[in-house]
């Protein structure tokens, strides 16, 4: 697959037109990343990490970065939100902070700023660009070069932030082929605790592109609950990367939910870089029609006594295509690693397709690692059993689909999110089939 | 036969055995009792040569040889057998194959002819009757999927087949119901000869109703705090381990006075 020369040039041109003030304190970083993107180009399916996902629909369109947010009233947001008034909420519209829609609750030891104003003031943002890999990963390079806005969250040592911090990325672009490049940085210092939720929502049906990157640094003993909810609209192309680095005894709980977008790809990666660190990486994808949903996760056990748990579940209907690629690496020094990974897929239609590649790469001998993957359809025996108890076929199917999803949704510890996602699953599973997300 | 002097042993940074003296002569049965965490299982493991324990002081001689200088398999070949408290599972390896390999390794070390599978079957049939073991167990994987009682009986079958001179039973009674306990104890008693010795490690006295010891030692805090005849076990049963510990601290207080 060859890509048009213009695809990369288009973004290089966009980069060159950034004004100096906007490039701000990250000018050199942006320049380096743009060079890397120009060198790498869009990945092709020959790239093992993109074996099952073609980005041609992105590479062959010319998306344009928007310069300012579309103006929205608070009422237009309500249906997409599941937070409560005591949460800190930052709303970004078309990639830019919309202060009138946001509310920040002050909390001692917690700094929450928006990236764009930090950079615009010429300021440096420590750790920005040091965690996510813009050297070899094309979309991270593209985001780094063109990053617009996002949250920079720092929680001081031993501070516990009880209420979640909700980052909402709304796409309301007034013109088709718009693009936004959200960029977040979450730093939890030693012993800090916080919950960060990222929601991606689209308000229009025109095609648009979201390329986001979230960098996470967890200090010793820190614990972060990170939830990403991807509910983009049907014309969206969405490529997101969450990249964490964990020091000793830190714990990352990650959940990635994906049900929107024509094509979406979410990378969730962590480096367990301190002894005793652990992560739980869960996720769920639910697609239908011609949607394509891809999750790629990487857990790198780099130090001894590290633990990882991972469950991803997929429900696929229509002509949809689900992809899961989960990598677990165990470096030679990571003795006593304990890793478990599973990916289960439920096919509801004979035209749906799933490609899964759970992958273990192990270089230490004293480890316990298992992984498993299954693909199948609803259990006929269970269906019959439920019907014999008086449920009709649609009810039985709906219940079984829900049950399939429930055990991973159960793992979400933020109740409003859990309830919202459970409701979303119920709402979308009608008559034992998946409705289109935008219906 | 076995002489332990001033034995100290650690696991990691923790000292578990803090100076053990124990002599076992030919034909004697010694019971080692003590509360949880007193070090009695450690003593059994150290005699067998478990690599997780580090001996920091003292000596153990067996028939005049320095036991601590021997590999675990050399100790086994020299006639020391440990019936494990938690027998290990080896998936995919049949009991028959495992036991014949062990039997032949021990025979070879003694300069005896190795036996072929058919001859070995004869040996096994007889030994399995000792503990009422179903012959189908021979084709099952070593301890894999065995119930707790089956595992313990399997240890005794191995004991019977390998015919050691010094048997160490490490809490062989734990997890056994009364019938299984009797079967296991009967098996051990049938193997008893004036040439052979045993160390019976147990938390409870009830096993000693069936395997009657010549001596009883009470281990607490990594030391033998009291030794006596079989009646000591009954006293312990009656008064509990607190009795010994109280007596100890009373004696300690007295000596300071």
């Amino acid at each position: 697959m060859t890509q048009p020369e213009t695809a990369v040039d288009h973004y290089v041109g966009m980069f060159e037109s950034l004004d100096h003030a906007e490039a701000g304190g990250a000018g050199e970083l942006r320049r380096r990343a743009m060079d890397r993107f120009a060198g790498l180009g869009f990945p092709t399916m020959k790239n093992e990490d993109w074996h099952y996902t073609s980005v041609a629909p992105i590479a062959t369109r010319s998306f344009n970065r928007t310069g300012s947010p579309t103006s929205l009233s608070a009422g237009e947001l309500d249906q997409y939100l599941f937070d409560s008034p005591d949460w800190t909420r930052l709303v970004f519209v078309d990639g830019w902070l919309a202060p009138e829609l946001s509310s920040v609750h002050d909390h001692p030891g917690v700094q929450i700023s928006d990236l764009s104003s930090m950079l615009r003031e010429g300021g440096k943002v420590p750790q920005l660009g040091t965690i996510a890999d813009h050297e070899t990963v094309a979309f991270t390079a593209l985001n780094t070069a063109l990053m617009q806005d996002g949250a920079v969250i720092t929680v001081a040592g031993n501070v516990e932030v009880a209420q979640p911090i909700h980052l909402v990325f709304l796409s309301a672009h007034p013109v088709p082929q718009a693009a936004s490049f959200p960029r977040n940085l979450v730093v939890l210092e030693k012993g800090a605790r916080a919950t960060v939720i990222e929601s991606y929502v689209g308000l229009r049906d025109e095609s648009y592109l979201t390329v986001s990157v979230t960098e996470i640094a967890l200090g010793e003993g820190a614990r972060l609950e990170h939830i990403k909810v991807q509910n983009e609209s049907a014309g969206a192309f969405h490529v997101a990367t969450i990249q964490a680095r964990q020091e000793r005894d830190s714990d990352l709980h990650s959940f990635s939910y994906a049900s929107g977008a024509e094509l979406s790809r979410t990378n969730v990666n962590t480096l367990l870089d301190g002894s005793g660190s652990s992560c739980t990486m869960n996720g769920m994808y639910m697609v239908s029609g011609s949607q394509h949903v891809d999750h790629q996760t990487s857990i790198e056990h780099a130090q001894p006594n590290t633990t990882s748990r991972e469950i991803y579940k997929g429900i696929l209907d229509g002509h949809s295509h689900g992809v899961f690629n989960g990598k677990v690496y165990v470096r030679p020094e990571a003795q006593k690693t304990d890793g478990k990974q599973s990916n289960n897929n439920l096919l509801l239609s004979d035209h749906a397709r799933v490609d899964t590649k759970p992958q273990l790469e192990i270089f230490a001998d004293d480890v316990k690692c298992t992984h498993g993957a299954t693909v199948g359809r609803l259990d006929e025996v269970a269906l019959f059993y439920m019907k014999s108890r008086g449920l009709d076929a649609e009810q039985a199917r709906t219940l079984l689909i829900y049950a399939f999803a429930a055990d991973v949704l159960e793992e979400i510890t933020v109740k409003p999110v859990k309830d919202a996602l459970e409701a979303a699953v119920f709402a979308r599973v009608r008559g034992g089939k998946l409705e289109m997300a935008s219906d | 036969m076995l002489e332990i002097k001033g034995l100290r042993a650690n696991i990691g940074e923790n000292e578990i055995l803090k100076g053990i003296d124990l002599t076992v002569n030919k034909g004697e049965i010694h019971a080692v009792m003590g509360p949880n965490g007193s070090g009695k299982s450690t003593l059994a493991q150290v005699i067998a040569g478990h690599p997780a324990y580090e001996v920091t002081a003292g000596s153990v001689t067996y028939d005049g040889q320095d036991l601590l200088d021997m590999e675990p398999e050399e100790r086994a070949q020299a006639g020391i057998f440990l019936a494990f408290q938690y027998p290990v599972e080896i998936p995919g390896v049949t009991n028959a194959y495992f036991l014949r390999s062990a039997y032949n390794a021990v025979r070879k070390a003694r300069g005896e002819e190795e036996v072929d599978p058919l001859e070995f079957l004869d040996v096994m049939e007889e030994k399995m009757k000792l503990v009422d073991m179903d012959p189908s167990m021979l084709n099952r994987s070593v301890n894999a999927g065995f119930s707790g009682g089956e595992k313990k009986r399997n240890e005794i079958v191995q004991l019977a087949v390998l015919n050691p001179r010094l048997a160490i039973l490490d809490e062989t009674d734990s997890g056994l119901d009364i019938d299984a306990l009797r079967i296991v104890a009967d098996g051990v008693n049938k193997l008893r000869t004036p040439e052979k010795s045993a160390i019976v490690v147990t938390h409870y006295q009830r096993l000693l109703n069936y395997i009657v010891p010549d001596f009883v030692h009470v281990l607490a805090g990594g030391r033998i705090v009291k030794s006596g005849g079989k009646e000591l076990a009954l006293e312990l049963e009656e008064h509990g381990y607190d009795w010994i510990q109280n007596e100890q601290s009373a004696a300690g207080a007295g000596s300071r006075a």
Binding site: K357, L360, T370, H371, A373 | P87, P91
Partner: protein, 478 residues
Amino acid sequence: MSTAIESLVNREYQYGFVTEVEADTIPRGLNEDVVRAIAAKKDEPEWMVEWRLKAYRRWLTMTEPHWPNVTYGPIDYQDMIYYSAPKSVKPLASLDEVDPELLRTYEKLGISLTEQKFLAGVAVDAIFDSVSVGTTFKEELGKQGIIFCSFGEAIQSHPDLVQKYLGTVVPHSDNFFAALNAAVFSDGSFCYVPKGVKCPMELSTYFRINAADTGQFERTLIVAEEGSSVSYLEGCTAPKRSGNQLHAAVVELVALDNASIKYSTVQNWYAGDAEGVGGIYNFVTKRGKCVGVNSKISWTQVETGSAITWKYPSVILQGDNSTGEFYSVAVVNNRQQADTGTKMIHIGKNTKSTIISKGISAGRGNNSYRGQVKVMPRATGARNYTQCDSMLIGNECGAHTFPYIEVQNDSAMVEHEASTSKIGEDQIFYCKQRGLNAEHAISIIVSGFCKEVFQNLPMEFAVEAQQLLGISLEGSVG
């Protein structure tokens, strides 16, 4: 590793000797003249020469693939000898005429070509470098219409069958090494089991590389007609040499309606020394096609040799209700590398596949399982079960699992499970307490780990495989 595990001494590779025979060797290098020269040596008909040339020209347009998880220096295809045969081998000679020196070689390898002496029930085709030395029990098999002979002989005596099936499973253009093989393959075995015949004995090919600097490119084709069945064994050894030698074989299996083929390999090519000098590059394409309904193809492999093993014995499940199986034990020690697994391509309805893979890594070896399970849109009711377990011995080796599961039919059921673990210190101590030394303990535990694979090997092979495994792992602990 625990200090209690004593270091063990490496035993010599016992098949590492060289046979002194006068060889008929063509000059180094590869071009169309070399392809023609190989064909001429074998007095091949024009259609065969054309097929080779077609493959050669295709090969020229291809590049050597580098996607497996193995590393090696560049292979100079012009510095290799593509044909070497003992001068004493006469085409189509009877066994009585075989050079006694070659007979002695096979005796040393434990393979007797004298029918009276050989294990009853196993027919052998002995391949020495580029040619077949002889095939046993040919006549007896012939009585039932079974053809078992060298590939060279099959081209002469059964051209219709060869033409009908050659390249139907692994086309000449399939991949770089398969194309190379198609251009220069020198010999191999051919087997044809007619309709309704259950082959009464195990068929076996023993491959021996002897000459230095030669590549071995053999080709095996097995066709099981409707309702027939056959079990086939393959063994391989090579001398110890400090240079690397390329072995790029192709195996094609065709199973028609209700036919079954069982293919077992014990691969013990020279693995190189402890520092990774020398050894065979074993880059092999093996594939079976279940053409007919209810047909079955089963691969069992025990891979202990070779510096690099790179192969994926696969099954195309085309016929409805057909079954594919893959049972594998792959052991790497010292500097060995293996990237092996299988592909199960479900095309027909109600097709079933089972994959059991056991990888053992020791020394500084790297072992990768790479497997693809593909369920095509029409493969209603397809089932796959995959289990791949890895065991690591020591802390300088690696175990990798790369399963590719691709499902396009909602009625499919695909399950994949994998685990990685170490040999338990407790297991070793338990064995030692029963009088077994560390080496013996590990060999017992490892054969237990591999049991599900060994029990699928024919009996004679199972014993050899277990012994080989013990030898391969020697020196791996300490």
